[in-house]
């Protein structure tokens, strides 16, 4: 892969992949917060307070990780997994 393509891939992973990962984090955090007995507003706010720390970390990691493939796998896979887990926890009767 050329250097230009490699950079485009990393930038896309950092922004879009990172967003998906962060989205999954919000869903899972909200679901866990609800399980822990927080109100909807509090669980959601807690997720919002934490999510940008996660996003910044994944964005920086997207550039320093050794392999771009691993970045994509972790961000997209992790994002989908957390979204699914959070949705499952939420949909299940409490």
């Amino acid at each position: 892969m050329s250097r230009r393509a490699a950079i485009v891939s990393r930038v896309l992973a950092a922004v879009a992949g990172g967003w998906l990962f962060a989205w999954g984090f919000v869903v899972l955090c909200l679901a866990l917060g609800r399980r822990a007995g927080l109100s909807w507003a509090d669980a959601q706010t807690l997720a919002w307070l934490l999510v940008f720390g996660v996003y910044v970390t994944t964005a920086c990691w997207s550039f320093c990780a050794a392999r771009a493939a691993r970045v994509w796998l972790v961000l997209v896979g992790g994002g989908l997994l957390m979204t699914g887990a959070g949705w499952g926890l939420m949909a299940a009767p409490t």
Binding site: R3, A6, I7, R10, V15, W19, A22, W23, V26, V27, L30, R34, L38, S39, W40, A41, D42, Q44, T45, L46, A47, W48, L49, V51, F52, Y55, V56, A59, C60, F63, C64, A68, T83, W87, M90, A91
Partner: protein, 548 residues
């Protein structure tokens, strides 16, 4: 892809900083202006130059105005187009009155429901009115509030309203800012020593980097918390889980929580009259005083207007604390009975309210307000010295290789940095020059802003040619002269058209206008000083060449 961790962080810092820095410096600058948005409003709308007023009587003054508010004509036309002709009858569903300790005029909003489902975003229209709370009259001509309705929206969304794309760009820039801070700390390992290092007499590349580190590190906590809180304020827009994926669960949970608080989640659909809101406001103030925190009313909101299940919420102004608004007391609108008194915030909400309040700073503390300006300007200086360093480091090499990189980075920097100052000061001049009776006066002021900025872009590109020989662009100096001339002209025009010259405003202690005038004079002096120094540098290019 990179040889080491530090290499990757250097790359990220350089390129995220350069590409999104152009947006970021605009966000920082207009954020800095927004600290004094209400004061800029006073400067721009002379008929509102009087003392801030407390919330007036709802029953006798606000309600008649709220009942007369109609949706914004443009939104109404768009809704008509979507509906393909006639619209159903518009019913107001929410009334809001909002003021702060810096507002002489009062803003009123009405939200209208179009269809059956108020949760549909397209089914809602908004209308607003600005009144003089001393007599309840509408502000004639609905003049544009330059500070709070133009510079502030520029700060949060760049006026790119199509699909909220401006908010997303600003959000991405804030994220890049956080990444730049993290990577910047990694790159500059000798952070503590660099903090105490400034060598203004060394060559340009060295002194810009010193200043970049100094402003970046000195205001690091400020930059960090403002980028972070800016993002959390709009988190609901960037991660709308409760409106999309989890909407059914959110609605069930929120309805249950509203029931637990004794508040109706939705309108009953049965018409009923509104009791005296003034009595509810008096009761809210009595309850705040009983809790040991007497205060003014910041916001009054009537939900489900005219319905049997209508609720009036009275919020306390947060002038004496960081958190913005709060301690709301909710009343049954038909009887004035207290339904719910908000308990002290939970830990999570408390932290969030603090962060939001810290960013939006509606509290009463003038010294802190000026420190915000200092922090914002330090942020601008940090980003701009970053641009300059980028160009200084590469310009000779690029000139030798015949590459345009440094040239266009420099031209973009001129166009954004001095360009936005030209645009801002040109807008203030237009505000004072355009006749009061001119039709579309608000639009013409905005055209002056964008037109001046566009000119600055063209000028910066046109004058960037010397970079090809690694020489400085004369555009920096020429636009600085334009800024100085426009800033001083704005002060002179304010004196000439309103009579509120500095001698008078200072003697009267009328700081909103005196402060804007003084800031313009100082900004003009700084721009003129920079222009003079750049002129000196232009004369001695050979000398610098010997050192290099």
């Amino acid at each position: 892809m990179f040889a080491s961790f530090r290499h990757s962080m250097t790359w990220l810092h350089t390129w995220a900083g350069l590409v999104l820095g152009y947006v970021l410096v605009v966000v920082f600058f207009f954020g800095t202006l927004s600290v004094f948005d209400r004061e800029i409003d006073r400067w721009a709308i002379p008929q509102t130059r009087f003392a801030p007023q407390p919330m007036p009587s709802f029953d006798t003054m606000l309600r008649p105005v709220l009942e007369r508010i109609r949706p914004e004509p443009a939104d109404l036309a768009a809704a008509r187009e979507r509906a393909g002709g006639a619209l159903p009858a518009l019913t107001p569903v929410e009334w809001t009155a909002y003021t702060t300790h810096r507002d002489p005029v009062l803003l009123l909003y009405t939200e209208f429901a179009l269809g059956k489902d108020p949760a549909e975003p397209d089914a809602v229209l908004y209308g607003h009115a600005t009144i003089d709370p001393r007599d309840g009259r509408l502000l004639p001509g609905d003049p544009l509030k330059l500070g709070s309705e133009f510079f502030y929206p520029m700060h949060i969304g760049l006026h790119l309203t199509w699909h909220d794309v401006g908010y997303w760009i600003v959000g991405l820039s804030a994220l890049a800012m956080l990444c730049a801070l993290v990577s910047g700390v990694v790159i500059h390992r000798r952070l503590f020593r660099e903090f105490f290092t400034f060598r203004p007499r060394k060559h340009v590349q060295r002194s810009t980097l010193d200043l970049h580190n100094l402003t970046g590190v000195a205001a690091l906590p400020f930059h960090f918390f403002f980028a972070l809180s800016g993002l959390t304020i709009f988190a609901g827009m960037y991660f709308p889980v409760s409106e999309t994926l989890l909407k059914p669960q959110a609605q069930v949970a929120q309805a249950a929580e509203a029931r637990a608080r004794g508040l109706p989640a939705r309108a009953a659909g049965v018409a009923a009259p509104l009791a005296s809101v003034d009595a509810m406001v008096a009761e809210a103030r009595r309850r705040w005083a009983a809790r040991g925190m007497p205060g003014e009313v910041g916001m009054v909101q009537v939900e489900h207007v005219g319905d049997r299940d209508s609720v009036v919420a009275v919020y306390r102004a947060g002038s004496d604390r960081v958190a913005l608004l709060g301690q709301a007391i909710h009343f049954e609108a038909t009887t004035g009975r207290v339904l719910h008194e908000e308990p002290p915030a939970t830990a999570v909400t408390g932290v969030n309210d603090f962060l939001t309040g810290l960013h939006l700073q509606q509290f009463h503390h003038w010294l802190l307000r000026w420190l915000y300006v200092a922090g914002g300007l330090a942020g601008c200086a940090c980003i701009v010295t970053g641009f300059l360093f980028f160009v200084e480091k590469r310009k000779r090499q690029h000139a030798r290789a015949g590459v345009g990189g440094a040239r266009w980075a420099d031209a973009m920097a001129v166009a954004t940095v001095t360009g936005m100052l030209v645009a801002t000061t040109a807008m203030l001049v237009a505000n004072r020059l355009l006749p009061e009776a001119l039709a579309g006066r608000n639009d013409w002021q905005q055209r002056a802003f964008w037109g001046a900025w566009l000119l600055a872009f063209v000028h910066a590109a046109w004058r960037s040619r010397p970079l090809r020989q690694a020489q400085p662009s004369p555009a920096w100096r020429e636009q600085c002269i334009a800024v100085a001339a426009l800033a001083w002209t704005a002060v002179a025009l304010n004196a000439a058209t309103t009579g509120d010259h500095l001698l008078r405003t200072l003697a009267q202690g009328y700081w909103p206008v005196a402060g804007v005038d003084l800031a313009l004079l100082i900004a003009g002096a700084c721009a003129a000083g920079v222009a003079a120094r750049l002129r000196g540098r232009r004369r001695a290019p050979q000398l610098e060449g010997h050192h290099a």
